[in-house]
Amino acid sequence: MEIIDAKTLDYKAINEALRRSDDACTIQNCCGQRFLASGMSQKDLTIYGIPGNALGAYLNNAAITVYGNGQDAVGDTMNEGQILIHGNIGDAAGYAMRGGKIYVKGNAGYRAGIHMKEYKEKKPLMIIGGYAGSFLGEYQAGGVIIVLGLSRNKKRIVGNFPCTGMHGGKIFLRDDCHDIKFPEQVTARPASREDLDELREYLSDFCSAFNYQIDDLLSAPFTVITPDSKNPYKQMYVAN
């Protein structure tokens, strides 16, 4: 295990140190350095502090664990691997993500999973333990987003305009969603037995990472949102 003290290092120096090392690495005193581990493969990385924007961008099968909050664009265009955050994350997490997994214990900002996609065996998964901001799954084209809404103090599980422009993939919200307005081009329905079996599979790693019991998580109602191919997305921004 190699320890990197980030206190006096910029992102370039940190990434060079990560590339030089063949060992698992731990970054300490991280404070806002961007692009950490971007494009890296076969790397086991632990971060203490606050990694900067675009953590694990283009990640190519590395495992990142953060003890702290993430900033914006965690896992931007990530291809493979896993990012585990023991805190909250900012806006646009998993932007155009096309593979791999992002697990967040806390809340996500705006536009989580924007333009997520999938192709053949590549199917990205994002699980948010708390609540998500507005525009969750905006223009989602594939992959799976799960929001659990744990410890959210009566706050809505998701902000305004979820699934705007969604045309592929699947979203699970752990709520009956009676107070949430979805756009016309998606279908929101209570989870079926098959959906719950699918969920059980998705949630198992999340539960072991953050010490949750899977049956506790599955004991509440889930809503499943998928695009309705008969009524495709048309517009959002023009007529306001």
Binding site: C31, G32, Q33, R34, G49, I50, G52, N53, N69, Q71, D72, N88, G90, D91, N107, G109, Y110, G133, S134, F135, G159, N160, K181, N240
Partner: protein
Amino acid sequence: MKMEGQVRIPSGCAISAVISREGKKISGDIITNSMKPMHDRSNGLGGGFAGYGIYPDYKDFYALHMFFNSRDTRKTCEAFLKERFEIVQSEIIPTHKIPAIKNEPIIWRYFVAPLRSVMSSLQLEEKEFVAKCVIRINDEMPGAYVFSSGKNMGTFKAVGYPEDVGLFYRLEDYKGYSWTAHGRYPTNTPGWWGGAHPFTLLDYSIVHNGEISSYDANRRFVEMFGYKCTLQTDTEVITYIMDYLLRVQELTLEEAASVIAAPFWSTISAKSDLEDKKKHIFLRTMFPSLLVTGPFSIVFGFNGGLMALNDRLKLRSMVVGEKDDKVFISSEEAAIRTMEPNAENIWYPAGGEPVIIKVKEGAF
């Protein structure tokens, strides 16, 4: 050198702010340091700060911070000021000579009180009189630019990275109950000193990350009321909008936020609180030309408080944190952690949701 307005500036930018709800004094080097982890959000073509409560010895006087391009301009401007104000103090703003900051103009400050006789002959209330004088200098006096004009507050800005600008202006020598900061990323203009943020009028100041697509519609509207957008930068117009809504129209901060970052009609129609719904319909109907569209995150400073606000679609980042009496606002959490490693209650305000922090009554 091309001035702003001759070229278009899409910008990246970083913002940061801190305030003590108890009115306790915070040294300026804290806000300077907060900009360091966000270095890459700026490109060295503009940095600036606003400090509130920094001039307790002159708190009853308007502090005019000015750039002049020559000694002659300064003399002409001083003659203009002497006809309208009593100047109780006139001095160079102290700076450190550092290699990172070059080509500085003449940087001066005046502490002034408006002459009663002139105000009464013009039948103008004090703040209106001061605002009119500031707008006139900026519009009609080439080479002279008032970049700060409030009481017991001041802005400090330059071409350079914000952490260098803070060092240049010796912010460690000032203590204020609140501070705002800005790092600029204009990508296709040389940038100039007056074009750096914050933009101010009286004690109102704005730091802004983003790009306003409604700029011209907003400008045409406020110019009907005597404001002059002399810099043609988008941010300037937000300062005048806030002055118009708060000082002239006497709206509350929440109401002003609902005008510039008005909720979508669909969001308004879904409101269950009928009073609130009616108010939002009224505000959107009364001030449609003051809706600010395009991405923005701003911190608005005023005597006794701060307000942070995102555009309604939240196309720029903003984080808020707290520790004891202090509240921190920034584009990135890293900046908050630099000011206070143990900051608590870190949260991300929603688009169009104003975060208003006021210093307790009597503490500023």
